[in-house]
């Protein structure tokens, strides 16, 4: 079986815009699931609402496309009711960090055995480019026409503080690292949170000088900083660029988890 066998061929082509990172992230996730040898008949993909949340609809497993922000609460019910199922959640920055923020911190606190892949494109793509809780200060969107003025959420720090067993951040540029991180997530009992910085040329890039996919890839390549380097700079008291995307594994621990087969 290859990762392509995990796709519902009769649902393609997908609805994502050209240049969107979501396909890449779906690709990496399925590669990880395939590498783990998971049985598609015993795997459930769950999502909320938004561009990211269309992903389960393209996967040939049981899939639950729920209400906006609530994917983790639905997934909690699935996993607690039948811990023998493998459950992966796709979500986005609006879905997870805004309307679903409460469920996010509580799923991390419960440390329930889910792998959560957040396609963080810094914008509400599905509704046409409104500011989200991860839109950087100064960035333009249809609801921040003069530049975003609210501080952005650090989703990784939130997940670590709330208790998730495994937390990582990569970008859609880092496909191999991302695949490995997802695989680690699938293997780690408890909640695994993987934030993936994703490009949205249509609704974010167009307004913020990242219109071309190549610009986006270059942006992710040059702005990313490995966590080890970031830690070193901080330890040495040296400056860290304010727009650095710190990537890598932030925590891997084995605290007691819920939803694990006893």
């Amino acid at each position: 079986m290859s990762f392509a066998d995990w796709l519902r061929a009769d649902r393609l082509p997908h609805i994502w815009c050209s240049g969107c990172s979501n396909g890449t992230i779906l690709n990496c996730t399925l590669a990880a699931v395939e590498a783990e040898g998971w049985d598609p008949d015993r795997t459930v993909f769950v999502s909320g609402i938004g561009c990211s949340s269309r992903a389960p609809g393209y996967i040939s497993t049981d899939s639950l496309h729920t209400t906006h922000g609530r994917a983790l609460a639905f997934a909690t019910g699935v996993k607690l009711a039948d811990p023998s199922l493998n459950v992966v959640v796709f979500t986005g920055d609006g879905d997870l960090a805004a309307i679903g923020g409460n469920h996010f911190i509580h799923a991390c606190r419960r440390n329930i055995d889910l792998t959560v892949v957040c396609m963080n494109n810094l914008i509400y793509g599905m509704t046409g480019g409104q500011g989200s809780p991860t839109t950087p200060i100064g960035a333009l969107s249809t609801t921040t026409p003069y530049g975003a003025s609210e501080p952005a959420f650090d989703l990784v720090a939130l997940a670590v503080a709330a208790g998730a067993n495994h937390v990582a951040r990569w970008t859609a540029y880092h496909v191999r690292e991302l695949e490995r991180a997802v695989q680690t997530g699938l293997e780690t009992p408890g909640l695994s949170f993987i934030e993936v910085r994703a490009g949205c040329p249509t609704n974010y890039g167009r307004k913020n000088r990242l219109r071309e996919v190549t610009d986006l890839a270059e942006y992710f390549r040059t702005k990313s900083m490995l966590k080890a380097k970031f830690d070193r700079l901080v330890a040495e008291g040296r400056p860290v660029p304010s727009d650095a995307i710190v990537v890598g594994e932030f925590v891997r621990r084995s605290n007691p988890a819920m939803g694990v087969v006893p």
């Binding site: 459930v44 609460a73 639905f74 019910g77 699935v78 009711a81």
Partner: protein, 362 residues
């Protein structure tokens, strides 16, 4: 036994093995009973972070094939409405116990009301038909919870137990039957599409993890479960089927009790006000009063009103400003008098007698 505890016991007897909930007066004892009982019978109890998460978890659990329930009261019920619509759209069986209290808003947490009767009927967005039961005793908290599960499983939809604070917190002697009739979900047969409905409008259920690889979405979907959101014909057919499978079963699932069918003055009641009505009717046999007591309010059993061919007036005492009275009015040609009581207490016999008097002099 207390009403709320009886509801939990009824759920367990019906096969409920997953409870997700959030504390809220006056329903909390249902959750507390489930927290005690579920671990002992191989079930799952989880206290979620809010009522939205509670019903979400219950829906998720239901897709693994478990019978699942939550309990709440007005403010929590309001929070659940979006996901109630999701359960209706995705045809997910589950039971919601709403022990009603005074509203709007935080209102009267410890006092009785029936103010959510139209909210459960129409509260989520879009067109819908729902199944709602209303117990008038601790025994019925048990019996009708069982029935709610059976109807939810049979019709693949949420079923509501619309209790009220008085019944939920009342303690009465009840009989726990040795055997209860339990309806189990009909599984999806191979060779059928996940949303391909039979003649009764109800598709078989593709339990997660059993190889059906079903896609479940709140979007308008075709029989495969795939989103098809801009086809007017498909959307109308889907919504009409979802509504029809419940509405068309109106007579079959109707559940009511008739007292004195020859009566000219007839009470239509449900829930705790029925107790005051029964007292008045028993105390005044000379007044020729009749009772239509609804154990199932939605879908409204309009044909039941014809059980009273001599009725000259229908009196509808409710702990709201006339939510079901309006429904009665739609179906009869004689006057319908709403007898509202707000504030959390039962109608007194004197109040009901006064309503009878006024109705007679009309």
């Amino acid at each position: 036994m207390q009403g709320n505890t009886a509801s939990a016991e009824g759920a367990i007897a019906a096969g409920c093995r997953f409870f997700g909930g959030y504390p809220i007066t006056p329903s909390t004892e249902v959750a507390e009973a489930m927290a005690r009982r579920m671990p002992k019978i191989g079930g799952v109890f989880v206290q979620m972070e809010d009522e939205i998460a509670s019903i979400a978890a219950v829906i998720g659990a239901s897709w693994t094939g478990k019978k699942a329930m939550t309990s709440t009261s007005g403010p929590g019920f309001s929070l659940m409405l979006e996901n109630i619509g999701f359960a209706l759209m995705t045809e997910t069986p589950l039971v919601i116990v709403n022990v009603q209290r005074g509203g709007p808003s935080t209102g009267q947490p410890t006092m009785s009301a029936q103010g959510d009767m139209l909210q459960c009927r129409f509260g989520s967005h879009g067109d819908m038909a729902v199944i709602a039961l209303a117990p008038d005793s601790v025994q019925e908290m048990y019996d009708l919870t069982v029935k709610a599960f059976n109807l939810a499983e049979r019709f693949r939809c949420p079923a509501f137990l619309m209790a009220d604070e008085i019944i939920g917190h009342m303690r009465e002697r009840i009989e726990l039957p040795d055997h209860v009739d339990v309806v189990d979900r009909r599984p999806l047969e191979s060779g059928h599409l996940p949303y391909e409905a039979g003649e009764d409008g109800v598709p078989g259920f593709p339990v997660f993890g059993t190889g059906h690889r079903v896609h479940v979405t709140g979007l308008t979907h075709d029989e495969r479960g795939y989103p098809v959101t801009t086809d007017p014909v498909l959307h109308e057919a889907l919504v009409r089927r979802l509504v029809g499978k419940v509405e068309n079963a109106r007579r079959e699932i109707a559940d009511y009790r008739v007292t004195n069918p020859d009566a000219e003055v007839v009470f239509v009641c449900y829930g705790s006000p029925a107790r005051a009505v029964q007292q008045v009717v028993a105390d005044h046999p000379d007044l020729g009063l009749g009772i239509l007591r609804l154990r199932l309010v939605w879908p409204f059993p309009e044909h039941a009103l014809a059980e009273f061919p001599n009725a000259r007036v229908f009196l509808v005492p409710e702990q709201n400003l006339g939510q079901v009275a309006r429904e009665v009015e739609r179906h009869v040609l004689v006057p319908v008098v709403s007898v509202p009581k707000l504030g959390g207490e039962l109608h007194t016999p004197a109040e009901l007698l006064r309503a009878i008097e006024e109705a007679r002099s009309r």
